[in-house]
């Protein structure tokens, strides 16, 4: 576990140090000057990297060039906006994905299975930003149900924004992000469900007179939930990627949009900070999945206790 933590965290940093150097060539003179001041010109690559690393370990991520603020402060602010969006989408896509996957697996080969599989294929071959665009056209422009962008009404003082306003602005992006997360977990759950239903123990359960609904609820869910939740934890990275695109379309001021802005504006300290944060989130997801296995699966739990 510790080894994995190191692997997941450390390799990101040299990468960014490299980028810092190469990207220098493509920047304006002013930016170069600013960066030179920040990094210390002429320092070798390793030195600069160590410099950044030691700063990072002390909790100092540097100063964002775009926002003129501490990177950690910018990230904290953007994170607060994104966490709700991503958290909501993560839960909804998980629940819906598992439900749809189970349905499709149980009704394998029938109409509802084909419908669900077709839908999943369609969504997974659609770029997230295009779904967002379509949602904007239909719900915001044509129907006028939701505002077109931003997390708060334009021109309103941040302190006076009500919770309802915030929800109203976050609803559409969150829904779109949820939809993009469904196919992955739904298709895997379906495969797993089909596998479970073809398994020996389900055959024996049927032979003992258990009905299909009973089998799905008692044996199906029991054997499916763990892999599905593990998968969903692993999909946090995908949700993060999707949120980058969707925040851009809805001009929702979250982490993803900040990353794009930082990339386009060559704001390296901010971009690096975001990369590290996202790696931590992805790693956290994998760690959570591992821990969950240990707690829930009796084979791991009891097996460990015996040894």
């Amino acid at each position: 576990m510790a080894a994995f933590a190191l692997v997941a965290l450390s390799p990101i940093d040299p990468l960014q140090a490299n980028i810092g150097q190469v990207a220098l060539g493509s920047m304006s003179a002013e930016q170069v000057a600013r960066l030179q001041a920040y990094w210390g010109v002429g320092q070798p690559l390793i030195g600069r990297y160590l410099n950044w690393l030691s700063g990072f370990l002390r909790g100092d991520l540097g100063v964002s060039l775009l926002y003129r603020q501490e990177v950690s402060q910018v990230i904290a602010e953007k994170c607060a906006n994104s966490v709700w969006l991503m958290g909501f989408a993560w839960c909804v896509s998980g629940v819906l994905g598992i439900a749809l996957g189970v349905t499709a697996g149980v009704r394998r080969g029938r109409f509802s299975d084909r419908l669900i599989r077709g839908g999943c294929l369609l969504v997974s071959s659609t770029p997230a930003f295009w779904i967002a665009l379509m949602a904007l056209i239909v719900f915001a422009v044509w129907l006028g149900w939701f505002p077109i962008g931003l997390s708060i009404p334009i021109g309103m003082d941040a302190a006076r924004v009500s919770l309802a306003d915030r929800l109203h602005h976050a609803a559409l992006p969150a829904l779109v992000l949820s939809i993009t997360g469904i196919p992955n977990v739904a298709l895997h759950t379906r495969e797993k469900m089909v596998e479970v239903l073809e398994s020996d123990y389900v055959l024996f359960a049927r032979a003992r007179g258990e009905r299909t609904t009973q089998i799905v609820l008692r044996h199906g869910l029991r054997n499916i939930l763990l892999p599905a939740i593990t998968l969903q934890f692993g999909a946090i990275g995908e949700i993060f990627g999707g949120s980058t695109l969707i925040e851009q379309v809805f001009s929702y001021p979250g982490l993803g949009q900040a990353a794009v802005a930082a990339g386009l504006g060559s704001d390296l300290p901010l971009l690096m900070g975001i990369a590290v944060i996202s790696a931590v989130i992805v790693f956290g997801g994998n760690l959570a999945a591992d821990l969950l296995y240990g707690v829930v699966d009796p084979r791991v739990r009891k097996g460990g206790a015996h040894r």
């Binding site: 394998r108 080969g109 073809e198 398994s199 020996d200 123990y201 055959l203 024996f204 359960a205 049927r206 032979a207 003992r208 007179g209 258990e210 009905r211 009973q214 008692r218 044996h219 029991r222 054997n223 763990l226 699966d297 009796p298 084979r299 009891k302 097996g303």
Partner: protein, 326 residues
């Protein structure tokens, strides 16, 4: 032996799969073919056949639990009445039960007790579970165990307990002994004898003729999806009372009877289904064996062979290498 009305009657049962051959052609694979069988009260019928001859499918077909891509023909009667889908659904697990092969037939993530209860929470159901487990020497602590914690013999006993918990009329046991030492295997088979003596019919599916003979009343010899001979256990006392050349070859392959192996392998389903399926390995093969062999009743049994009951050319069997495998 005077036999009562059969509990289970199987008539003309066939199971087939649609399979792709090389390229784009599809062919129908007959895995079980035109099978007749009857099981009576207080009787153990052993269906004996080599691995891969389609025995398990026979068990699953009777229970109506074939995979979705299988096609079934023919039918069964249970206690005199046709066994259709609806009736099966009512009887499965109650009057007709299955004892499966191994621990993979238990849900790996569910405690043994909960699996046996089958979702019923009534105290009566729990009591029955406890009693049936206790009957096979399994204590209360087993109820809280997960399948991976059970030994092979314990898992077998758990599955028998699961089957007899509702005092069934028909028990279908699919290979209940492999992987057990002879001692444990004999004990398990003894349990089936008890169940039969209490009034149920037992269909015992196994590849182990020697084991089957210690416990069964009648033996049906299964080969490449068909039953070639049905004989009482007494017929196996000597070679002469057996009817089919294949049964005789099996008899001779038993350790106490010379341990002579039969060369060759049984044909794979779908390979040349014309005529007698055993012909390619048969010492008595003649020209007519390319035609469908008749069923000949001899004494207290029957065989599906042109040469049923004929004395084989003994020397032809002395060395298996005389026969060219398919």
């Amino acid at each position: 032996m005077q036999r009562s009305d059969p509990i289970l009657e199987v008539k003309g049962l066939s199971v087939s799969f649609l399979q792709y051959g090389r390229g784009m052609r599809q062919q129908l694979l007959n895995v079980v073919h035109g099978l007749d069988l009857a099981v009576s009260e207080r009787e153990i019928i052993a269906v004996v056949g080599a691995s891969g001859s389609g025995k398990s499918l026979l068990a699953h077909a009777i229970l109506g639990l074939l995979p979705y891509n299988a096609h079934m023909e023919g039918g069964c009667r249970f206690r005199g009445e046709p066994l259709d889908e609806a009736r099966l659904r009512r009887l499965r697990g109650k009057e007709i039960v299955l004892v499966p092969q191994g621990v993979s037939y238990l849900d790996p993530l569910m405690c043994v007790g909960a699996q046996l209860n089958g979702g019923e929470k009534a105290p009566d159901s729990r009591r029955r579970t406890r009693e049936s487990l206790a009957r096979y020497g399994l204590g209360e602590e087993v109820e809280r165990m997960y399948p991976f914690e059970l030994s092979g013999g314990m898992a077998r006993r758990v599955m028998i307990a699961a089957a007899v918990r509702n005092t069934p009329k028909l028990v279908i046991a699919d290979e209940p002994t492999p992987g057990l030492n002879p001692e444990a295997a004999r004990r398990i088979l003894g349990h089936f004898r008890e169940i039969a003596d209490e009034g149920a019919g037992v269909l015992l599916i196994t590849h182990d003729l020697e084991m089957a003979l210690t416990v069964a009343d009648r033996v049906a010899v299964f080969y490449a999806g068909r039953i070639l001979e049905e004989a009482s256990v007494a017929d196996f006392m000597q070679e002469e009372t057996l009817r089919h050349p294949y049964t005789r070859a099996l008899w001779r392959a038993m350790p106490q009877n010379g341990f002579q192996p039969l060369a060759g392998a049984q044909p794979y389903a779908g390979e040349g289904q014309e005529g007698c399926l055993f012909a390619s390995r048969c010492p008595l093969r003649s020209a007519e064996c390319t035609k469908e062999p008749p069923v000949r009743e001899i004494g207290n049994g029957w065989a599906r062979c042109f040469h049923a009951g004929e004395r084989g050319k003994a020397d032809g069997f002395d060395s298996g290498t005389n026969f060219v495998p398919v």
